[in-house]
């Protein structure tokens, strides 16, 4: 079930109403039932997968807790089992095709093999939650005894498909304590759902039509288009994924349940390190805790810690998609983090530079540079192949096409109407980001009078009704 579908618009109110109506003891059952209905709405057969993995990890949890003082073998078995399932569904074709490519290079004969596997929705997210659970239990965390609550943790419908990746120690108590209905939380949740939907429908989907036009035929695009589409894609991803997250968090809040934050005005970050603390926060933390720290983190030699960083970010890239250009994107993130660390080392003992870096001027410059670097990395993310990405980057940085003969596509009246509006939408989003950065610690929304909040919500609904695209697109992160 898509969040931006009529199905979900009917599903959510029914679930929320039932949630607050049924006896408290039945709420976990209701959440589980709703979550499985939500999942089965896509392909009922894959319900077997999520139920199977839940049972497997539930059992592993007990076994690991039982034997954790004696052996690590069960943890390894649990991690491998989860990774094998994820690997099969997500990476089988990628591994086989990459292997064949190597054989091709070596001129060795091989047959053809393809796994016609449909990637189950949300598998990466609930697998990461299972891994988190078994690792934490091994580290001494409490085992979840109630199978229903454990199943709700993994299958919880608002976060089932694209996160945020939850921590069981924060989530399980919330469905255990049975909070009373809080109108303030409900209102916040309601507004967030609408706000997230508007981000997706009004911004992400409209920006997508221009981005798709440019990335669909980059040869026909001018240098200015390539830059504009790159920025547009950065904001499309932000609006799409943070829109999804807003709906997930808002849906949860309407039931009095909080899930971890995932975005915090990321493009106002003054370093790539800060950006990953403010963008897809739950995934960054997961990779930090379970990959980077497991590899040794930064408590080792400088070279080794850099290696750890590159491995972690490349794996994060691979997680985003089974393709080398996604690995390259992750590698780019790792490279940016290394450059940032080296930069800190460089200026630390230079007093004048150090003083300048503490000024507001530098912050503005740093935000600009960080956003540029991050947007450029998205060329690898969005392009179909590394060679296409490199070719596009080459054109973006070459001065040859600065004055193209052809008019840029964003000045085209033949394409989607949104194309000539893209620069204005981007400018508005930049301004919105700047305003949000100033407002984020001031509880601005909470202090806004309710009639104004209601007016804003009504405006969003009106705009969405008017400008909802005839064909809704999926959320970008659903494929991960």
């Amino acid at each position: 079930m898509l969040f931006n579908s009529f199905q979900y618009m009917a599903f959510l109110p029914v679930v929320v109403l039932l949630y607050w109506s049924v006896p408290k003891k039945l709420r976990p059952f209701l959440l589980l039932l709703a979550s499985y209905v939500f999942y089965a709405a896509w392909k009922p057969i894959y319900l077997v997968l999520i139920v199977g993995m839940t049972l497997l990890n539930y059992a592993f949890g007990f076994l690991i807790a039982w034997t954790r003082d004696k052996t690590k073998l069960l943890l390894i078995a649990a991690v491998i089992s989860n990774l094998l399932i994820l690997g099969y569904f997500k990476y089988a074709n990628f591994v086989v095709q990459s292997f064949f490519r190597i054989l091709n290079i070596a001129h060795l004969p091989h047959g053809d093999l393809r796994f016609d596997v449909i990637l189950p929705l949300g598998i990466s997210f609930f697998t990461f939650e299972f891994l988190h659970y078994v690792i934490e239990v091994y580290k001494g965390g409490e085992v979840v005894k109630d199978p229903i609550k454990f199943a709700v943790f993994a299958g919880y419908f608002p976060t089932q498909i694209a996160g945020p990746i939850k921590r069981y120690s924060e989530f399980i108590p919330q469905i255990t304590h049975n909070n009373k209905f809080d109108i303030n939380q409900f209102e916040k949740g309601f507004v967030m759902v609408l706000h997230g939907l508007a981000k997706k429908v009004l911004l992400a989907d409209n920006l997508a039509s221009y981005v798709n036009m440019v990335y669909g035929a980059p040869a026909a695009a001018t240098t200015a288009d390539l830059w504009m589409a790159t920025y547009a894609f950065a904001f499309q991803v932000y609006c799409d994924f943070s829109g999804y997250t807003d709906i997930a968090i808002g849906s949860s809040l309407m039931m009095g349940i909080t899930v971890p934050p995932n975005f915090n005005v990321p493009y106002m970050s003054s370093s790539i390190r800060e950006l990953w603390h403010r963008q897809h926060i739950s995934l960054s933390q997961w990779f930090r805790d379970y990959v980077y720290f497991s590899l040794g983190g930064s408590r080792c030699s400088k070279l080794r810690s850099y290696f750890n960083l590159m491995v972690t970010t490349s794996l994060a890239g691979l997680w985003h998609g089974a393709a080398w250009h996604h690995v390259m994107w992750g590698f780019f993130q790792g490279g940016s983090l290394l450059v940032h660390r080296e930069w800190i080392n460089f200026y630390q003992d230079k007093k004048a530079l150090n003083d300048f870096i503490k000024t507001g001027w530098w912050k503005v410059i740093a935000i600009f540079i960080t956003f540029q670097a991050f947007s450029i990395s998205y060329v690898f993310f969005r392009a179909n192949t590394n060679s296409q990405a490199l070719s596009m980057l080459g054109r973006m940085f070459s001065g040859a096409e600065t004055h193209p003969h052809a008019c840029p596509l964003f000045l085209s009246s033949k394409g989607p109407l949104v194309a000539p509006m893209v620069p204005f939408i981007l400018a508005a989003l930049v301004i919105a980001h700047i305003i949000s950065e100033f407002l984020r610690d001031k509880s601005f929304w909470v202090k806004t009078p309710r009639p104004l909040q209601a007016l804003y919500c009504a405006f969003l609904i009106f705009m969405m009704l008017s400008l909802w695209p005839e064909t809704s697109s999926r959320f970008i992160y659903f494929q991960f």
Binding site: F6, E170, P173, Q174, N179, K180, F181, D182, I183, Q185, F186, E187, K188, F190, V191, H195, S242, T245, D246, I249, L253, G256, T258, V259, P260, P261, N262, F263, N264, V265, A406, C407, L411, S412, S413, K414, L417, P420, M421, A432, S436, E437, L439, R440, K442, W445, V446, K447, T448, R450, P451, A454, L455, C457, A458, I461, F462, L465, S466, L467
Partner: protein, 418 residues
């Protein structure tokens, strides 16, 4: 303590202490954001339901592009004995002697006068035809017109092959009148709705004017955006219709969003006077587009609604008269003969099976090229000829239809027993 949310909404914090267990009263509930929002939307909804077509007043294409809502209200008020449905071919019967109102009228004056003569009674007749009306639209309009205690005794359906095969308008919701008419169509029509997309949109438009009128605002926004964006150095201006009815990238002329019925009438009428050959060419090209691609699904959908229309008329005891509408001999040459023959046979078979009263006026030799404004719509001379032929055929073949009108008219007269 858990933080949540993106900063656009202001970073908030939710505590797990007893703050979340605060009690709230009825007043708080009634002044909560969702309730207030619903009140605002309800106010907007009521405002939209007042019947004023604000977007149309700005000369922008609205959900009610063809003024069906007013005409349906007139049907309810006047309780006519006959209602005309179909495309602009039959709509042109509304034109005045000066040639006006052939796309905006509702009163087929000459037909009415002939029916008066033929029946000896005062027959009222209202046109619910609209431009490029598809069969699904005709069905929904018939549903809306007959959703009354006094449905019209006769529905005259001016059918054309195009209405059954135009792929671009195959989905019910893609047609011009679907949204505007949906609120007036009774829910008993729901089982007859063919596609899932149509069903969802029907419910949306039936219950919610905010949804029904969504394209009004979309058109308005698109119009404003295009007008504003023309100030940019675009590669070429947006497509507009020039005075000679050519769609081309120019800065003057009408955008598609502005192409409302009364403008169509004015522009086409001016062109007819200035350059009749160009007008004929325009409609010939326009017509030829419809027959290039023919999707089987479109025909199935049309057949579904045509049969639903027949069932509706039977259920409501309405006499359905189907007229295969003619085009000018010149324009008729572009219509592929085999599909046309199949279509004529299909209509005839329906008539023979008692589904309706069928009159085939396709390629009637009494109508010449000179009887058409543009090869498609009648001039006054064509209107006169067509109407006379039609009424004569009714008298000759289907006197029961005229009798039904006469009887209903008599029953409607003041003092008539009810």
């Amino acid at each position: 303590m858990l933080s949540y949310g993106d900063a656009y909404l202001g970073q908030g914090e939710v505590t797990s202490d007893n703050k979340s267990e605060q009690k709230f009263g009825l007043i708080r509930l009634l002044t909560s954001v969702p309730v207030l929002m619903l009140l605002i939307l309800l106010t907007l909804e009521i405002w939209l339901r007042q019947g004023h077509n604000h977007v149309d007043a700005l000369n922008i294409r609205s959900a009610d592009l063809w003024g069906c809502v007013d005409r349906l209200a007139l049907v309810k008020k006047v309780r006519p004995q006959a209602v005309l449905i179909g495309s602009s071919l039959i709509m042109s019967l509304d034109q005045t002697e000066e040639g006006k109102n052939y796309l905006t009228g509702y009163d087929p004056v000459y037909l009415r006068s002939l029916l008066d003569k033929a029946t000896g009674k005062k027959i009222s007749c209202i046109t619910l035809a609209s431009g490029a009306q598809m069969v699904s639209e005709s069905y929904f309009l018939a549903q809306a017109a007959s959703a009354t205690s006094h449905p019209p005794g006769v529905i005259i359906y001016g059918a054309a092959l195009r209405d059954f095969v135009q792929d671009q308008l195959a989905g019910e919701w893609k047609t011009d009148t679907f949204n505007s008419v949906a609120p007036y169509v009774p829910l008993t029509a729901v089982p007859d709705i063919y596609s899932e997309g149509g069903l969802i949109r029907f419910f949306g438009s039936h219950f919610c004017y905010l949804y029904r009128d969504r394209d009004d605002f979309k058109n308005l926004f698109a119009f404003w955006a295009k007008e504003a964006l023309e100030h940019l150095p675009l590669d070429q201006p947006f497509m507009r219709l020039d005075a000679d009815c050519y769609w081309k990238p120019i800065k003057s002329g009408y955008l598609m969003e502005e192409w409302v019925a009364r403008r169509q009438e004015t522009v086409l009428e001016n062109l007819r006077i200035k350059n009749p050959a160009r007008l004929r060419d325009y409609f010939k090209r326009f017509q030829s587009m419809f027959y290039r691609l023919q999707n089987k699904e479109t025909s199935e959908l049309s057949d579904h609604y045509f049969k639903a229309l027949q069932r509706l008329c039977k259920r409501k005891n309405i006499m359905l008269v189907v007229v295969n509408m003619p085009l000018s001999p010149d324009t008729a040459t572009i219509v592929p003969p085999v599909p046309m023959q199949i279509f004529r046979d299909y209509l005839k078979a329906g008539g023979d099976n008692g589904g309706y009263y069928f009159i085939d006026l396709w390629a009637d030799p009494r109508l010449s090229d000179a009887d058409y404004k543009d090869g498609v719509h009648f001039k006054m001379s064509g209107l006169t000829k067509f109407t006379e032929i039609f009424v004569q055929l009714l008298q000759k073949r289907y006197p029961a239809v005229l009798k039904r009108m006469a009887d209903q008219s008599a029953a409607e007269q003041p003092g008539a027993s009810k």
